[in-house]
């Protein structure tokens, strides 16, 4: 959070140094959305360190990305157990398909889906919680937790359609 405030402060200060000429409009260059770092169709593997109350937990995330069909994320713990399974339709609708302790459906819908969209959904609105440290390293900071994410594998190619079908997707 402190880092985000610093960025805002820095933006204000530097804006003062580059005053546009009178009569011209100034449009700041849009930052590239991290979603554009990934192929339109791909399966992406991410390794995450979740920090809550100073305690750290490691997680694996497997994301199936389809421009036309949406996003599917499966989160597992170290030993392969599935902790969360969520589908985000192209319009942004979130479907929580499976959760396991400690994740509860409301938490998955509110936070995990939001984090997923923040990184992979080109059309998602940014809320300032995401920092992109490199093309493969992201940090999401929200009230109560920090998620340090690294992309470790990208497998381009179309993903199975049934991954994104609402009536069949829940069969994990």
């Amino acid at each position: 959070m402190r880092h985000n405030l610093f960025i805002v402060l820095f933006a204000f200060l530097t804006a003062g140094c580059a005053v546009p000429e009178a009569g011209t409009s100034y449009n700041p260059p849009a930052l590239p959305h991290p979603g554009r770092l990934f192929p339109a169709e791909a399966r992406i593997t991410q390794r995450a360190v979740l920090t809550v109350h100073g305690r750290q937990f490691t997680l694996n995330g497997y994301v199936a990305k389809s421009e036309a069909r949406g996003l599917r994320l499966i989160v597992t713990e170290n030993f392969g157990g599935v902790l969360a399974d969520v589908l985000v339709k192209p319009g942004g609708k979130v479907l929580v398909l499976k959760t396991g302790p400690p994740f509860r459906p409301a938490w998955v819908e509110k936070f995990i889906a939001a984090d997923l969209k923040a990184i992979f959904d080109d059309h998602a609105k940014t809320d300032g919680s995401l920092r992109m440290l490199s093309d493969t390293h992201f940090v999401i900071e929200r009230s109560g937790y920090e998620l340090d994410l690294r992309t470790v594998e990208v497998n381009p190619g179309p993903q199975p359609a049934e991954l994104f079908e609402t009536d069949r997707a829940g069969n994990l």
Binding site: V52, R55, P101, W107, Y145, P160, A169
Partner: protein, 253 residues
């Protein structure tokens, strides 16, 4: 003390991980099943069940207790029906008596889990360097490490108490199958198969079956027994890099 963040139950993480960890604990325990050969051969290629597996397990319990150390290189494949290809990772597992374990994932990411009877530690390789984590549930991992250690000392009571164990063999493979006795555990793990050389001299793979048809296969690409690991291999403050450990293992007679 139970701490919650909104609807996120931290304590629940430990409970959830226990089921997955239990599978791994079984794997660690079961790779011990390969330590000593048996003269149990089936006559045909069809798997023939061994009528009474208890003598085999008792023999194992007796003989495993003398093994000093073991080094495994392995590939893990997570087969989810949803994905066409398995999710693969590679790693090593090192065990040294009486109680030291190092489990390291080497690809597609790098992570080290270390444990002994006193403590556990986890490291993640981030931005070119190893970072020690402030573990959320060291006591839970500690408990698991303790059980792994006991099983590798040949104390198989934990296995026989919680799992129905059967053995079947043919000319090319021996299969030890463990089925959880507890219905709740079967909700997560239907069965676990340990596939061995037919003379039980080496483990080939372990397969963990889940009720929904998903499964995890761990393929043992290489193993070396009675290895003298270099100092620092199990250091929980600054573990020796795996490349150095490997070189030492490779150089060992």
């Amino acid at each position: 003390m139970k701490k919650t963040l909104g609807t996120f139950n931290i304590q629940g993480y430990g409970n959830a991980a226990t089921l997955g960890v239990r599978c791994w604990m079984l794997v660690v325990g079961c790779v011990g099943l390969c330590y000593f050969p048996f003269a149990t051969f089936a006559a045909a290629d069809e798997l023939q069940p061994v009528a009474d597996s208890q003598p085999i397990l008792q023999d194992l319990q007796h003989k495993m207790s003398s093994l000093g150390s073991v080094y495994f290189e392995l590939t893990q494949e997570r087969h989810l029906k949803l994905f066409t290809d398995p999710l693969k990772s590679e790693g090593v597992m090192l065990i040294e008596r009486p109680d030291r374990i190092r489990w390291e994932t080497t690809a597609p990411y790098q992570s080290i889990l270390l444990g002994d009877k006193k403590s556990v530690a986890q490291f993640e390789f981030v931005d070119g360097k190893w970072a020690k984590l402030k573990l959320g549930f060291p006591q839970m991992l500690q408990r698991v490490m303790d059980q792994m250690s006991l099983m590798n000392q040949g104390k198989l009571d934990a296995l026989t108490a919680d799992y129905a164990i059967s053995v079947a063999t043919n000319r090319s493979v021996a299969v030890v199958t463990l089925v959880p006795k507890d219905e709740n555990v079967r909700g997560t793990l239907s069965s676990l198969e340990v596939k061995l050389q037919p003379d039980f001299s080496a483990t080939r793979e372990v397969v963990m079956h889940e009720p929904n048809g998903d499964f995890t296969r761990i393929i043992f690409n290489r193993e070396k027994r009675e290895v003298k690991f270099p100092p620092g291999t199990f250091d929980q403050a600054k573990p020796l890099v795996i490349g150095t450990v490997r070189a030492s293992v490779n150089d060992a007679p």
